[in-house]
Amino acid sequence: MEPQSCVNINKEWDIVGARQLGREMAKKLGFGTVDQARIATAVSELARNIYLYADKGQICFEVIDKRERQGLCMTAVDTGPGISDISKVMEDGYTTSGGLGAGLPGVKRLMDEFDIVSEIEKGTRIKTVKWIR
């Protein structure tokens, strides 16, 4: 397994490819069925954001192998318009209101670590980690 692999997101079909790669890596790393599904869903949300709101971007997967624990790190980078009000997109409570999807709060919930950096006109970078339980 390569330590890092990336998927470019340009069209909707690429979301499926990203999900698949994320799930395969999670499986190889030894994540359980439930966590595999959660990781795939998080990938979906990140990739869909790129597909819907940014011109192009990619999602990269990286195995984290520390002595005390192992995990999977996913980084979504795009060169889209950027997010002007991060607190607003991180506002919780939209899954139940039937919006576009779980969005970023959903990703945060599905994963263990979550970090977002965004610059207007330049793009957004989201880094998330899931640790093996």
């Binding site: 069925t33 599904a37 959660r38 869903t41 919780d92 409570g93 899954t95 139940t96």
Partner: protein, 337 residues
Amino acid sequence: MEEVIDNSAANYKELLKHYLESQDEQALYGVEKVSKSFIKNEILPEEIINLHIQAMGEINPNLKADYKHSMNFLLEAMIFYGLAMQEIPLLKEEKHVLKSEISVAASMQKTLLGTTKPTIEGLDIGIISVPAHQMNGDYHHFIKGKDGSLGIAIADVVGKGIPAALCMSMIKYAMDSYPEESMSPKSILKNLNRVVERNVDPSMFITMCYAHYKPKESKLYLSSAGHEPGYYYHAQSDTFEEIETKGLVLGVSPDTEYAQYELPINKNDMIILLTDGVTECRDGDRFIDSREVLDIIKQYADLPAQQMVEGVYKHFEKLQDFQLRDDFTLLVLRKDV
């Protein structure tokens, strides 16, 4: 949380095994209890499906591949349900915050718009005003003049809840700024109309009735801005008469003039002012008609004015299964002597 799953897992597996063998109700009752403990511990649906997959795998190692795939498919379908479920505590908390903020606003409104029922010799006054929700969109106010006269305002914002209540505060403060005793009902409405027209969103309007009772003349002067018509009770003939008034609702046109009406009040006569929350009470799906309102008022007419309005309110509250649909304000004046 994982501990709960582990504990319940063994239990779940036993129950499932028992059920596969016997299909009996006892196992189903058992799983009902397990399910309650899952909910209590906020176990997500995908975890329960996973528990089921594992239990089935242990009970029967020769499961068909199709079945296994289908269960994984189901697990996948549950992920978003799990996310939605995790939002529930947050939504509950938000609801709680909103509720307490509204209750603060409602008590503030009570203080801001508070008015005390004055004592006027020879006049028995009854008033009840109950909001449908926490905030009241009806408004009433008493002003006792130095000459012993009584000014009464009763108003209704079209609309309910917080916007209506905010609007009412404006009316109250505009009225406070007028030198009441020198002003007649028609000029008060004319002034308020201008305030409302300038300050309130065109989609919102206010109906209002202003009455001024002069005990020395035994006369009531009254003007109305599109308000629900009040009633005049003639004690001598024991009949009710609608007080016919004309006047545009407040806030529509800046230069509206209001007509002023003059009613002589004799002993035991009554003036009844109300808002449409009274006349538009519903009995099931049917709106009651004004005749019925008057019939009920008559039933309680032997009582002192305050007990009378309370009795009428209780009647309609019960009629509507204790769920008011609109703010309810009823005011009765009776000349005692």
